[in-house]
Amino acid sequence: MEPSASWDADEAVTALYAAHYRSLVRMAALLLRDTGAAEEVVQDAFIAMHGGWRRLRDPDRALAYLRQAVVNRARSALRHRSVVERHAPAGSADAPSAEDGALGALERQEVMAALRRLPTRQREVLVLRYYSDLSEADIAAVLKISRGAVKSHASRGMTALRATLEQLPS
């Protein structure tokens, strides 16, 4: 396969869409809790990436750019969201729920609720780390914060989650 340096912006969008659209939407949905809004945010990010392709010229950098754009846009969408779906139950859109995870529904519900109560930065760090599997350095680059800050957000977030989980019956 011809490497990507020769792609034009349209080809880059198509290739990155095929490879990453779904996982980016899922990441955004974990931050936003709304599939429709997540898709909009990711589509906006692709459009911005398309506009900036001349500068990016590289799929790795384009992917990092996409992640950054998605996280930033999700954050501002959350800030502007008027209705907080605080008491909606887990799986409120009645999505199918067949997973490999051994965690029970209750536990999962509690973990997600606790995650949503975290400050934005902590939630972002945990989603990037445990859903997107990014390294500390990558998370620092996406969020434009230091690696030390990534560490401290992660550890404070995990401490809060641990406190929640310890209250659950095991």
């Binding site: 939407v25 589509q43 790795d60 999505a95 067949a98 490999d100």
Partner: protein
């Protein structure tokens, strides 16, 4: 990254499970291209709307079967990579936007969409015979006492006597959990499922049992709904092996057996995220094969009004309306009626339009009084109201 941290692993699994439930619609690439200025034919530009209309028309004429076939493709979403047609002279026959084949970006080794985890839900998947329940790891199966706040148990008989727990002699912890229980209700498209959230007592973590017993025993709070299993049907045993739960009941469903099975499957899989199929047994004898959730467009009512709940008493002022819907362009309408007269109405957009299923919410300001709230949609064909879900509420 540290993979030894158990909490980290738990979080990883939860996020993976939550993420896997997110199913983007299949037309993202088309929407992006429209906005990045790629020229497309006029028809292509309006295609989503045309198709949606066509889909609704098909629905009206041919009923659910054709509809679900269309949806089946779209819901899978994974666009099969086919012939490159970046500038389609004629519209593709498929509803889904297909990305042209393109060079693989180095960043990833697998641009080709992998099968979704949902593939395993298809009825064709895994037809292996059920393992003997005695070999299967069993759920903690202590008896579930009737929940104290149970709205209206319709079973005239006393709760069944507790079956002794085989594994533990210490008293199992009793917790209260909120479970989703499915019931059937009439719609313009026939009998479909609705969902009620119920608080149940769970003994020793046997939350599947608690949910199924609630489904069998309790009357739905909404009088428009009904259970499809005969009153008095009891759970004789429940065992779990892998992602399959075997449920042994004392009687088969008297009618609407397929939807009754879906009522059971939806209730069981909603409460246990690691369960995807249910094997029914009646008095020990297997009935049919392992069954997963049917496509939502086949079995779920198109419009749900989940908040307020039936019979709710709410303070005057702003009243929150919430629900879930599979409707054309996500447009959900609502009305508030007093003495049969519409006193307030409005509409909102669900987070996803058909064929997706989206959540919706809106608010209305109400003075004290008794009201009927209903959520519905209007037929794209003739504008008639459809799929109304109604709740009676009191505002004080």
């Amino acid at each position: 990254m540290n993979h030894d941290d158990p909490l980290g692993e738990a979080l990883r699994r939860v996020l993976r499970a939550e993420g896997d439930e997110v199913q983007p619609r299949g037309d993202g690439l088309g929407r992006i291209r429209e906005r990045t200025g790629r020229r497309r034919s006029l028809f292509a530009r309006f295609r989503p709307a045309l198709l949606a209309t066509a889909t609704v028309a098909v629905l009206g004429v041919a009923g659910g079967a054709a509809y679900s076939t269309l949806l089946g493709d779209e819901q899978r979403l994974v666009p099969p990579v086919t012939t490159p047609t970046s500038e389609p002279a004629t519209p593709a026959p498929n509803a889904t936007e297909l990305p042209p084949t393109l060079p693989t970006p180095r960043a990833t080794r697998s641009p080709r969409p992998r099968p979704t985890p949902d593939a395993s839900r298809s009825p064709a998947a895994s037809r292996s015979p059920v393992g003997a329940p005695s070999n299967a790891p069993t759920l903690p199966e202590a008896a579930t006492p009737p929940p104290p706040g149970d709205p209206a148990p319709d079973d005239p008989k006393p709760p069944k006597s507790p079956s002794p727990s085989p594994t533990t002699s210490t008293p199992a912890p009793i917790t209260t959990s909120t479970v989703a229980v499915y019931y059937a209700g009439d719609t313009e498209r026939g009998l479909k499922l609705y969902r009620e959230l119920r608080a149940v007592s769970v003994t020793g973590g046997a939350v599947i049992t608690a949910a199924i017993e609630e489904m069998l025993r309790a009357t739905p709070v909404d009088p428009d709904y009904r259970g499809l299993w005969a009153p008095g049907t009891r759970v004789l045993g429940i065992s779990k092996a892998g992602d399959r739960v075997t449920v042994d009941l004392s009687a088969a469903a008297p009618a609407d057996t397929e939807l009754a099975m879906q009522q059971l499957v939806h209730t069981a899989t909603a409460v246990a995220t690691d369960v995807s199929t249910v094997q029914l047994r009646v008095n020990g004898a297997p009935v049919g094969g392992p069954t997963g959730r049917a496509p939502q467009t086949d079995v779920l009512a198109p419009v749900w009004l989940t908040t307020p709940v039936q019979g709710a008493t709410l303070p005057a002022g702003t009243v929150q309306l919430e629900g879930v819907a599979t409707v054309f362009e996500g447009t959900v309408s609502w009305q508030v009626l007093s003495d049969g007269e519409v006193v307030e109405e409005g509409f909102t957009t669900a987070s996803e339009g058909a064929p997706g299923r989206g959540t919706w919410s809106d608010t209305v300001t109400l003075e004290p009084g008794s009201y009927v709230v209903r959520a519905l949609t209007y037929s794209a064909e003739d504008g008639s109201p459809q799929f109304a879900d109604t709740k009676q509420i009191t505002v004080k």
